[in-house]
């Protein structure tokens, strides 16, 4: 008796991967760098960023839809991932610029002079000329790549350990995650935090060592990288929630106390999922911000994390593809409506400008979804298709009875 590989037991995974591949190939074929140019480079970047947001939404769904923790701090991990990669991007690029400008000097610069020059360039804007301690590894891409997952993972681990240990749950926990995010944002807003205060890190769209490659090409590369990350993370997340582990975390979501009496260390499970989600989110952030070009502390104000929750709720939580649908649909709609391209509605005596009214519509729409479609868009699929029996356990039962 062999079990089918779990991917085959979950046809939705194959569908998602196929759609993702199709989408990426199609965008590439229409891009300016590799295809017809029907999709401008800025749009390719928007689509690439949207895939990163979808990845963050998948992680959010793991934490909220499956584990039942409404974390209002996911964007903190997202931004931390961005900051970690941004450190290297900014340092390496500034180093190249400073080295080029110092090459004109009669005497070649010492490593220390070079570093001072870089520090001056980066931190002059916040009135400092020293490289803060948190930039100790900024010169090295491999180290910063490790930090991309290590720093948010460690934060999630420490915060989660403290919060879960004292059995904070429900709205209390949500508020606490929100507070954590706010604390981090406020800390980053300071000029002496070592992250350039509210200036944030900028110029991230220029990849050091790839100076000869134009943004049109880079945008497609990042689209592929984002799609690959989303695909891998989706498979990973689906694998995690498929087996007994998935059973246990959904059980924790529904009745934590009962799971404890079954002998499962609930805190350990929560910590594992929370940390994994934080790391996935950080990877999403590390891919997002080079496409956005700039990151600043405003990105991790609590409201951003709540939006993430909104996307997942609208898409349908407890279903990984629901998270993707929610993130893609709502974020693309948002950028369309707030980008000023949506046609205004002319009423007698008043013109509805979507730039002004989109937020109102989104807010109210969100209330309506919560009230009338608690399972989100993905829940509508369930209504359309006939209810399917859960296929997996049935053969077991027959075999056992045979």
């Amino acid at each position: 008796m062999t079990r089918k590989p779990f991917i085959l037991r979950n046809p939705s995974i194959l569908i998602v991967l196929a759609v993702l591949a199709l989408f990426t190939v199609a965008v590439t074929a229409l891009s300016a760098a590799y295809g017809t140019g029907a999709i401008p480079t800025s749009m390719v970047k928007v689509l690439g960023k949207t895939l990163c947001l979808a990845l963050a939404a998948v992680a959010m769904d793991l934490v909220w839809g499956y584990l039942g923790i409404l974390s209002l701090g996911q964007m903190a991990f997202f931004a931390l991932g961005g900051y970690m990669i941004g450190q290297w991007l900014m340092y390496a690029r500034t180093e190249a610029i400073v080295a080029a400008s110092m090459a004109g000097n009669p005497i070649p610069p010492t490593p220390q002079e070079l570093q001072e020059g870089v520090a001056n360039q980066i931190f002059g804007v916040v009135g400092s000329a020293d490289l803060p301690l948190v930039w100790s590894f900024a010169h090295s891409l491999p180290l910063q790549l490790i930090l991309v997952v290590a720093v948010p993972g460690l934060l999630a681990l420490v915060f989660g350990w403290l919060a879960f240990r004292s059995r904070v749950n429900g709205v209390y926990l949500s508020i606490l995650t929100q507070a954590m995010t706010l604390a981090l944002a406020l800390w980053l807003f300071q000029n002496d935090s070592g992250f350039r205060g509210n200036n944030g890190l900028s110029g991230l769209q220029n990849i050091p060592g790839l100076d000869g490659i134009d943004q049109a090409t880079l945008s497609v590369w990042f689209l592929w990288a984002s799609a690959a990350a989303l695909g891998l993370a989706y498979v990973l997340a689906a694998w995690v929630v498929s087996g007994k582990f998935g059973s246990v975390i959904r059980a924790i979501r529904d009745d934590e106390t009962r799971v404890r009496f079954l002998g499962y260390p609930v805190e350990g499970f929560k910590l594992a999922v929370f940390t994994l989600a934080a790391m996935l989110t950080a990877v999403a952030g590390a891919l997002y911000y080079p496409q956005a070009g700039i990151i600043n502390p405003a990105e991790l104000m609590p409201i951003a994390s709540i939006y993430l929750a909104v996307w997942v709720a609208i898409g349908g939580r407890g279903r990984l593809y629901g998270a993707i649908i929610g993130a893609v649909v709502v974020s693309l709609l948002s950028s369309w409506f707030t980008g000023g391209r949506a046609p205004a509605i002319h009423l007698p005596g008043y013109t509805v400008n979507w730039v002004d009214w989109w937020q109102v519509a989104l807010g109210l729409g969100f209330v309506l979804v919560t009230l009338f479609a608690p399972k989100g868009i993905a829940g509508l699929f369930d209504r359309l298709s006939p209810p399917r029996r859960v296929p997996a356990p049935e053969p077991q039962a027959k075999e056992a009875q045979a």
Partner: protein, 636 residues
């Protein structure tokens, strides 16, 4: 400045009827020479004589000191005021005068000013004596000290105290006798006034000196390298007094090397190798040996100089007894100051706590009764503030508009709360996380709506005049009236809330529903109605908090957002379902914010960060807040 005093004297004198003053005339006639060429040493009796002749004499003196006195060719003295001039003796206007202006030196002027002040402080008019004292307190001189001491006893007790204080302060600064200065310092020890501290500071000012032997000066302490006296500071001191050659900075070194490149090498070392600090040092030493660059201090030289010298802090004030007394007085002042700063901090914390309390109380009520976090609570605060603003645009009288705005804000937000409850919250019963998100949707919609209606710029909500200004106890302790008013408002709401909960039918039913909704329903209480009422009540209080906050903060669509997180913290820290918990939470958060801010005043962002970290840790030890809900209901 003495000018206001002179101006005062001038005005007072000008008001007098012009009349001849024979005594003054005689003095002037006798001493015209000395008036024209006065000497610091001899002018004093003359000034006293003039002052004794009455108001005209005083007017003349102030004009003299103010360089507004001229002498005509025929020996008459004229007081010049802009283009007009008048006779100093008769007061009669003198048209077309072209006097030679007198320019007494500063020594003479200080003698004159002292005499004037002496005249003023013995003036029969208390207002003029007070003005004179105030003027001395602003800008006292050694001359004033003598004048104050010589003045007749002061009858008015308040003025006497002021005069005593001014005398002491001047004595600390100017008395030639060290014993008298020590006595003055000790007489004022414990005072925390800014003026006293300002008088002490110059006495205790120190300069750092480096010297192989103990210098002949009033030494405050000997410094040892390390701690607050780093090695660099010691080297800088030695460099400054010429003991040590200036140390070579990397930039100087680089420039010196760059100036000595010969055939692509410096002192035989190829330029390409000079990206190594060690190679640069070698090149520089070679240049130094060749005499091409000035010698720079080496580490060994610096070390030797440091070992050979001792470092001292010396007082500019030479007298040891004075500095000792001043230090002791300063210490006492600092201790008392710390206590008073503590009180001031307490007042600040109290007012902040009142604001958090007002902002959080509504949240606590709804959370306690329904286990529902209303994310739109901040927007209700904002609605209250905008209601206040709109009321103010309609009613010009600020007091009246405030009186109207408070109940109106309550009504508006009560209605909004009831509406929110009916339309959204009751359909999400027992789904707290969904409620949180749905109310968040309402929150962003309301925020954008406010932006669409009122624009993005801040709207003023101005307090009535009687609420402006502040209550000042002394230089340290003061609190603005608005904050006092908010504190009173918070107390009122605490009282009102307690009254509703403990003395009314509604309160009884609310408590019943909080403790056991099922049982309450079976006893004929309609939990739905109770929930609606409490939600409305909580929202209404948010509206009132909004008006209060709007009085001192800018009214923008983001007003609520600034308070919502702190409000959540207050509820979480305090514990739900108990007004005292909210109060304790608000007090803790308000107090702690102020304390953290006090230790790190330049950085409110860091203060908030630490605040939140504290709360996360606090929750570890009291997961259910300071005052937890009790009984089996809490277990659910």
């Amino acid at each position: 400045m003495i000018r206001p005093l002179i101006a005062l004297v001038l005005t007072l004198c000008l008001a007098l009827p012009a009349s001849a003053n024979p005594a003054l005339e005689a003095v002037i006639a006798d001493n015209l020479d000395q008036i024209q060429k006065p000497s610091r040493k001899t002018v004093e009796p003359l000034v006293a004589e003039i002052a004794a002749t009455g108001p005209e004499g005083l007017a003349l003196l102030s004009a003299w000191a103010g360089r507004a006195l001229g002498v005509t060719d025929d020996g008459r003295l004229l007081i010049v005021d802009g283009d007009s001039a008048r006779d100093a003796v008769t007061g009669a206007a003198v048209p077309d005068a072209d006097p030679k202006m007198l320019r007494p030196n500063s020594g003479v002027r200080s003698v004159i000013e002292s005499a004037l002040v002496a005249g003023e402080i013995s003036s029969p008019d208390p207002a003029r004596r007070a003005a004179a004292l105030a003027s001395i307190a602003r800008d006292g001189t050694a001359g004033h000290l003598a004048a104050l001491r010589a003045a007749p006893p002061e009858a008015d007790p308040a003025l006497a105290a002021q005069r005593e204080r001014a005398t002491n302060l001047l004595a600390i600064r100017f008395d030639p006798d060290p014993a008298a200065r020590v006595a003055a310092i000790e007489g004022m020890a414990g005072d925390v006034g800014l003026d006293f501290r300002a008088a002490l500071n110059p006495l205790l000012a120190v300069t750092r000196v480096a010297s192989p032997t103990e210098p002949k000066a009033n030494i405050a302490r000997e410094l040892t390298i390390g701690g607050d006296f780093p090695r660099e500071a010691a080297i800088a001191l030695l460099t400054a007094n010429g003991t040590l050659q200036p140390r070579l900075t990397p930039a100087d070194q680089r420039n010196a090397l760059a100036a000595n490149i010969v055939d692509g090498a410096v002192a035989g070392i190829p330029v390409a190798e000079l990206d190594d600090p060690a190679a640069r040092d070698r090149a520089y030493e070679a240049l130094e040996a060749a005499g091409a660059v000035p010698p720079a201090a080496t580490d060994a030289e610096a070390e030797a100089a440091l070992a050979a010298n001792r470092f001292f802090e010396t007082y500019a004030e030479a007298d040891r007894a004075v500095t000792d007394a001043a230090r002791a007085a300063q210490t006492r002042a600092q201790v008392r100051l710390a206590a008073m700063t503590g009180i001031d901090l307490g007042l600040d914390a109290l007012s902040l706590a009142s604001i958090y309390f007002l902002a959080a109380i509504g949240l606590a009520i709804t959370f306690g009764v329904m286990r529902v976090i209303n994310m739109a609570h901040g927007e209700f605060i904002m609605m209250g503030a905008y209601t206040g603003y709109v009321t103010q645009t309609l009613i010009a009288n600020r007091t009246l508009s405030l009186v109207v705005a408070l109940p109106l804000a309550f009504a508006v937000t009560f209605a909004a709360g009831v509406l929110l409850y009916r339309l959204v919250i009751r359909h999400l019963a027992n789904r707290p996380l969904e409620t949180l998100l749905a109310t968040f949707g309402v929150s962003i919609a309301l925020q954008q709506l406010a932006k669409n209606i009122f624009g993005t710029q801040a709207r003023p909500l101005t307090a009535p005049a009687w609420l402006e200004g502040s209550i000042t106890v002394n230089d340290v302790i003061s609190i603005s009236s608005i904050r006092v008013a908010i504190f009173v408002l918070a107390l009122l709401f605490l009282g009102l809330f307690l009254f509703i909960m403990k003395r009314t039918r509604l309160g009884l039913e609310v408590r019943a529903v909080t403790q056991n909704p099922g049982m309450s329903a079976s006893m004929g209480i309609n939990p739905d109605r109770i929930a609606m009422m409490t939600f409305g009540l909580g929202s209404g209080i948010a509206g009132i908090a909004g008006v209060a906050i709007g009085l001192f903060a800018q009214v923008t669509s983001e007003l609520g957002q600034q308070y919502i997180v702190q409000s959540f913290m207050t509820v979480v820290v305090g514990g739900v379902g108990n007004i005292w918990g909210t109060l304790a939470g608000a007090a803790l958060i308000g107090g702690l914010s102020k304390v953290i801010e006090f230790f790190n005043p330049s950085n409110t962002l860091a203060a908030q960060t630490f605040m939140i970290l504290f709360i996360v840790i606090f929750i570890q030890f009291r997961p259910r807040g300071i005052i937890p809900q009790r009984g089996r209901a809490a277990e659910a």
